[in-house]
């Protein structure tokens, strides 16, 4: 089996307080994969760590069998919508074009072909007519589709999307999930942070259930069991939280062998 992402024994901490403990998971390529978990479970943190935006406390991640920096261009990231400044003076087209920066780099010129690709991505998500609109003057669904277009314009092989369905109308959600499905049939891997349990079952091939630690990871029908869901959503892991708080108070290192370095 080909793996798009291998996560090896990953622990991530903020200010010494671990928010992900010992995550070990292999995610297959060419699948639509859902990450499920309650608020604060560390879903965003996991995605950001995979993207190299947050340093891992210990453990490592491989993408297509290689370290991230070898395959950066092939990975695309859609941030959670709360992190975007919707007042920023950029148009829908400007945002879509940013996807092409993966290929032009910091200084390379945007060619006509890049514009065509960006426009094509906008067409795919039905945002072509709004190309010149400032992003603040769009509905929630349109905003999310704009960022999806940016990811599509990157022409990546792996897509990491943080809550792409938050604040999105039902029609958009349906259209987007169809599009993502289509992408997986073309061999792309799509990883989606999702918050709705009801639709998760039908949407995804593969699921990763997360609540600070990995609860389960595997094909959706196997993983989507009442027991697993209870472990993910029910019963707070009071012990784990207490220990994490203690580590924060004592400024305890995440791993013993990190002690010398710090």
């Amino acid at each position: 089996m080909d793996y798009a992402i291998e996560i090896h024994d990953l622990t991530v901490a903020f200010d010494r307080k671990p928010v992900l403990w010992n995550i070990d998971a292999h995610l297959p390529a060419g699948k639509l994969i859902g990450i499920l978990g309650p608020n604060g479970a560390g879903k965003s943190t996991l995605i950001k760590t995979i993207m190299g935006l947050i340093p891992a406390g210990s453990g490592y991640v491989k993408i297509f069998g290689q370290p991230l920096k070898e395959v950066r261009k092939r990975v695309s990231y859609v941030p959670q919508r709360e992190t975007i400044d919707w007042d920023f003076p950029v148009s829908v087209m400007d945002v879509a074009l940013m996807g092409r920066y993966a290929h032009t780099g910091m200084f390379g010129k945007l060619r006509r072909a890049d514009r065509d690709i960006a426009l094509d991505a906008l067409r795919k998500v039905g945002m072509e007519a709004f190309a010149n609109r400032q992003i603040g003057r769009l509905s929630g669904g349109q905003q999310q589709r704009t960022f999806l277009a940016r990811a599509l314009a990157q022409r990546a092989d792996l897509y990491l999307m943080d809550e792409p369905f938050a604040g999105v109308d039902a029609a958009t959600e349906k259209a987007v999930i169809t599009l993502l499905r289509e992408m997986t049939t073309q061999g792309k891997t799509v990883l989606v942070v999702h918050h709705n349990l009801q639709s998760a079952r039908q949407y995804f091939d593969h699921l990763l259930l997360l609540n600070t630690r990995l609860v389960a990871c595997g094909p959706a029908p196997e993983v989507f069991t009442p027991d697993n869901l209870r472990d993910t959503y029910g019963g707070n892991l009071t012990l784990l939280t207490d220990v994490a708080n203690l580590m924060h108070q004592e400024q305890h290192p995440v791993r013993e062998n990190k002690l010398q370095q710090e």
């Binding site: 993207m51 950066r72 941030p79 400044d85 920023f88 003076p89 400007d94 993966a102 780099g105 910091m106």
Partner: protein
């Protein structure tokens, strides 16, 4: 006044001053745009104040007011303040705004102490050092102009080269990082350029008001446009206008420090922008608001005629203004009727009014949306039927044709609303 200013401009000294001030304010407005977009306006203020101890140190080391020493000193402490803020935020639990305030006041305090100490020495060379507090553009000479010119060209060139990087960093830092952009390097270049802009600006503007020169033109420009490129052009144009006017005023009246005048002109530009800019300006907003209210009043009148028509099943029936008034809560129904007449939605026959075909269709649409919305609220949101009317009163004027279609589709083209009134559809 224009004649005397024109006369002033033919004096080469004044030309230096005017050109120098424009270069300073124009290039600092460029960096101010990125500072504003990255929400780093306050950092600009900290840098400006932190430059003062550097000015004094440069003077102490050189022994005279040698511009290069002073600029170098200013640059060092200005840059130091940025790294201090960063260091405090990353290594303590102090929040960024507190860290900025802390660094600003400590550095500025140190600068004032040094300045006072230098003045106490009675060194003749020190006279005029306090001009760095409020700036004096009139002192700009040929040599300064060369320094300003070079720095401005450098800033402009780097803004062009790094345009994409600066913009992306301000908009979506994580995405820039994810793309493999060297975020730390870009940040370093941007910070360096902001410090540089502040440092060359202080001679004309002074440390106290430099942050205003950095940010105000950008803030004004933001009102007029929705693209970073246009914003850069506008902001530097606003900056240059303020620089030019400020320098001329302070040259014409030598007792006036330049900095405050530049800030006054920049603030006037910002204030005018806030008032009259299309779309975002206050006037345009209140105008839009008024137009909306007028539309609502007109539509309510059309609706009244439609509902009266519903009673006797003759929608195009002629009615007197008195009858309409009895059924409509409006302060000036006559005026509304005249407006609607001009727009072609009603017809007049002496003292009798009736809907035209277009008026009938428009009224029908409003009534339809009103009743659909009431139904939507009762079925989807479980709101009691007697609580939905007021909400529908506003929504009926607001819904776009797309949302109207979506509403019809979701409800499945129902025939009556929660109060058993017919929902009228347009016959095709």
């Amino acid at each position: 006044m224009s004649a005397s200013y024109f006369f002033l401009l033919s004096d080469p000294n004044v030309q230096y001053v005017a050109l120098g001030a424009m270069l300073l304010t124009g290039s600092s407005a460029l960096m101010g745009t990125f500072a504003l977009l990255s929400k780093k306006s306050l950092v600009g203020d900290a840098i400006a104040h932190a430059v003062l101890p550097g000015v004094c140190l440069g003077f102490i080391l050189a022994g005279t007011k040698e511009p290069l020493w002073i600029l170098a000193g200013a640059f060092l402490t200005g840059a130091l303040s940025v790294y201090l803020i960063d260091f405090i935020v990353h290594n303590s639990h102090i929040k960024e705004d507190t860290a900025i305030g802390l660094v600003l006041s400590v550095m500025f305090g140190a600068g004032i102490v040094l300045l006072t100490a230098i003045q106490k020495t009675g060194n003749a060379a020190q006279s005029g050092l306090d001009q760095y507090l409020f700036g004096r553009a009139a002192a700009i000479n040929r040599q300064d102009l060369l320094v300003f010119g070079t720095t401005s060209v450098l800033i402009m060139a780097l803004v062009i080269v790094f345009f994409r990087s600066f913009t992306l960093l301000a908009f979506d830092r994580h995405f820039a990082h994810a793309l493999g952009f060297n975020v730390k390097f870009i940040q370093f270049i941007q910070t360096t350029l902001i410090v540089l802009a502040v440092v060359i600006g202080i001679q004309a503007v002074g440390v106290v008001l430099m942050a205003a020169i950095l940010i105000t033109p950008a803030a004004a420009a933001r009102y007029w446009c929705n693209s970073v490129k246009t914003m850069l052009w506008l902001s530097s144009a606003f900056g240059m206008i303020s620089g030019l006017c400020g320098a001329l005023i302070s040259y014409a009246a030598p007792a006036m420090p330049t900095g405050p005048w530049i800030v006054v002109v920049a603030s006037v530009i910002a204030f005018v922008s806030l008032l009259v800019a299309p779309e975002k300006g206050m006037l345009s907003r209140s105008l839009r608001q008024r137009r909306l209210q007028q539309t609502i009043a007109q539509e309510n009148l059309l609706k009244t005629l439609y509902k009266l028509g519903e009673k006797n099943e003759d929608f195009l029936h002629e009615r007197t203004a008195q009858e309409i008034m009895r059924n409509l809560k409006s302060a000036r129904p006559q005026k509304l009727l005249r407006q609607l007449l001009k727009q072609g939605y009603v017809e007049r026959n002496n003292n009798h009014w009736k809907l035209t075909e277009a008026g009938y269709l428009r009224a029908q649409r409003i009534v339809k949306i009103h009743r659909l919305w009431e139904l939507y609220l009762t079925t989807y949101m479980n709101i009691a039927p007697d609580h939905v009317h007021d909400d529908a009163e506003t929504i009926e004027h607001l819904l776009t044709p797309e949302l109207e279609k979506e509403l019809e589709r979701q409800l499945g083209y129902p025939s009556t609303d929660p109060h058993q009134s017919q929902i009228p559809y347009r016959k095709t």
